[in-house]
């Protein structure tokens, strides 16, 4: 139905229009009830008295370009009619949402700046369906996002927002390993009883993930006391004297480990955890038993 038809039907009423200016400068004239469906526009009209004429047009936010504005107006025009049933609205919404991802993003952004929450939620749900189950690379591709996280940051989720005792433990284990390797190099010719930690990344992974403690809410605490058990108090561990190639290899191991820890962290519920039991030798180093706790041997 065109505007002139409406005028013919109701010749007495003065149709009110709101004047809106999009980012490119053009001013549009929109029926009042349609425009007022957007909270942001509603506020401008009521609180600031704007939009009543071409000269006093309301400037729309930057994020609302002409194309998006026209879509939003279509949406408002449909939904502001009070008589529609929920089913009608739902059908309209589903059809309305069929557009390519780029437009969905633009529309979300535009609707958000106009504070039009129903439309924001509608587009957001559609985008959520697109994101679900995709890998970070795929998501970056879809949304043309810059890969602006450093390698460290990508591994950082492991640190949580607080100190993850598992990462702390990992770092200390590696520092210990580096120190031991250093010692070994130095004392190559001397026959000393070695307590070098020979554990591979895999072993460390299962150690870190292994739960040798009772299933109550106290895991974190137990792990940190375990950590204290393992490391006799030492002055700080310096490892700058290590061969740089060795250091690089160790750093790569840490990274690889952390990546695996991360994927375990996210997916680990299905894995069977063997309890890993520790005991301390007389000289303060640790021994590790796999499988049954020592009481069952």
């Amino acid at each position: 139905m065109s505007e002139s038809d409406l005028d013919i039907m109701k010749p007495e009423t003065m149709k009110s229009y709101i004047y809106l200016q999009t980012a490119d400068g053009s001013v549009q004239q929109v029926e009042q009830e349609v425009a007022m469906f957007c909270p942001m526009i509603c506020q401008e009209v009521i609180h600031n008295g704007a939009g009543s004429s071409k000269n006093h047009a309301i400037s729309l936010p930057q994020r609302v370009n002409t194309a998006m504005f026209s879509l939003i107006l279509d949406y408002c025009r449909f939904h502001q009619v009070p008589g529609r049933s929920n089913k009608e609205r739902k059908i309209y919404d589903e059809k309305f949402m069929r557009m390519e991802t780029k437009r969905l993003c633009e529309l979300t952004s535009a609707a958000d700046s106009l504070q039009l929450k129903p439309l924001v939620d509608l587009t957001s749900r559609a985008l959520a369906r697109i994101i679900e189950g995709k890998s970070p690379e795929e998501i970056r591709d879809i949304f043309h996002l810059p890969d602006d996280l450093t390698e460290e940051e990508k591994l950082e989720p492991l640190k949580n927002t607080m100190d993850d005792p598992r990462i702390r433990l990992l770092n200390r284990l590696y520092a210990k390993k580096r120190k031991e390797l250093k010692e070994r190099e130095r004392l190559k010719n001397v026959e000393v009883e070695e307590h070098v930690d020979e554990r591979s990344v895999d072993d460390l992974l299962s150690f870190i993930n292994g739960r040798g403690v009772e299933d109550t809410g106290c895991r974190m605490r137990d792990l940190s006391s375990l950590e204290d058990e393992i490391f006799t108090p030492n002055a700080g561990c310096e490892d700058d004297e290590i061969d740089p190639a060795m250091k690089e290899m160790l750093d790569r191991e840490v990274e690889d480990f952390a990546r695996r820890l991360n994927s375990n962290w996210v997916q680990s519920l299905g894995q069977e955890r063997r309890p890993v039991h520790f005991s301390i030798n007389g000289n303060g180093t640790t021994r590790r038993h796999i499988g049954q706790p020592s009481g069952h041997n």
Partner: protein, 278 residues
């Protein structure tokens, strides 16, 4: 330099957070590796509040006095099983889906005649997840009933209820007649199935195989990951909203023989697609 296209695609962080809140916890965890905007959005309390059950503060306070610096951390805590209601129930959120599951302890169930010490014995068990389990000494009337409200569970989810039990070495009378299991939601119908209470030993398994050929299927307890067995009592769906009572039951009252030697740890109510549990 960003193209116009790229610039337009960049949604503000609040929008990204809103989008993530419509996905799953799994997607939100992995969003930390997408880009800096996604990372910050994925850490926000806004998103994790949506994944938490509505009564999370009550649940947390009834089990620990730990304080949390973010809703994400709180969520992680609830993914470990926590004891609530004076140790009578276990609550857990499945980490990747955010779905809720419960284990009701034996004390929380109605076990007919369980207050009679000649029939049932209550004791602490080292293999139990609760402070006590119930062991059947002897009865001819086995009736176990558990109840839960759908409002305490995740909406729009298929759930299964499972009786967590064990058969002791000196069990008897469990083989002869199968037990009946059923679930009823609100005013709905009972859906009754049958299951034997014990598994056949090898010799009897050979004989049973012959019966299978004739189309008779014998339901038995199944092994769990935690060393216990489970019998599925049935399944049900939670609606999008509403709060109905779900009654879950196992009875063996048709056989007149005396039975004994089963241990009950509780009833687990967990989402159906999930195979593993606490």
């Amino acid at each position: 330099m960003l193209t116009i296209e790229e610039r337009i695609m960049m949604l503000p962080e609040a929008c990204v957070a809103n989008i993530l809140s419509f996905t799953t916890p799994a997607d939100t965890f992995s969003s930390a590796s997408v880009s800096s905007v996604f990372r910050v959005a994925g850490d926000s309390d806004f998103v994790w509040e949506k994944f938490l059950p509505s009564d999370y503060s009550r649940l947390i306070s009834s089990s620990t006095h730990q304080s949390f610096s973010s809703k994400k951390e709180l969520f992680r805590c609830l993914c470990e099983s926590i004891l609530i209601d004076n140790g009578r129930k276990i609550f857990k959120i499945e980490k990747l889906t955010g779905k809720i599951s419960f284990v009701l302890s034996a004390r929380e169930l109605s076990i007919t005649w369980s207050d009679q010490r000649h029939y049932w014995s209550w004791s602490h068990r080292s293999d139990s997840r609760f402070s006590e389990g119930a062991r059947l000494i002897m009865t001819d009337w086995l009736e176990i009933i558990g109840k839960i409200q759908t409002g305490a569970l995740s909406p729009s989810t298929s759930y299964g209820a499972y009786l967590i039990m064990k058969v002791t070495e000196r069990a008897y009378g469990l083989d002869l007649v199968p037990a009946e299991t059923w679930i009823k939601v609100g005013n709905g119908e009972n859906k009754t199935k049958t299951s034997y209470l014990s598994c056949l030993d090898d010799k009897k398994q050979q004989m049973a195989k012959k019966e299978e050929i004739f189309g008779y299927y014998r339901r038995e307890p199944e092994m769990r990951e935690d060393g216990w067995m489970e019998i599925e009592l049935g399944e049900f769906e939670t609606g999008r909203e509403g709060n109905e009572e779900v009654v879950m039951s196992l009875t063996e009252v048709k056989g007149y023989q005396l039975k004994g030697g089963i241990v009950i740890d509780g009833i687990e109510v967990r989402p159906k697609s999930q195979k593993l549990s606490c």
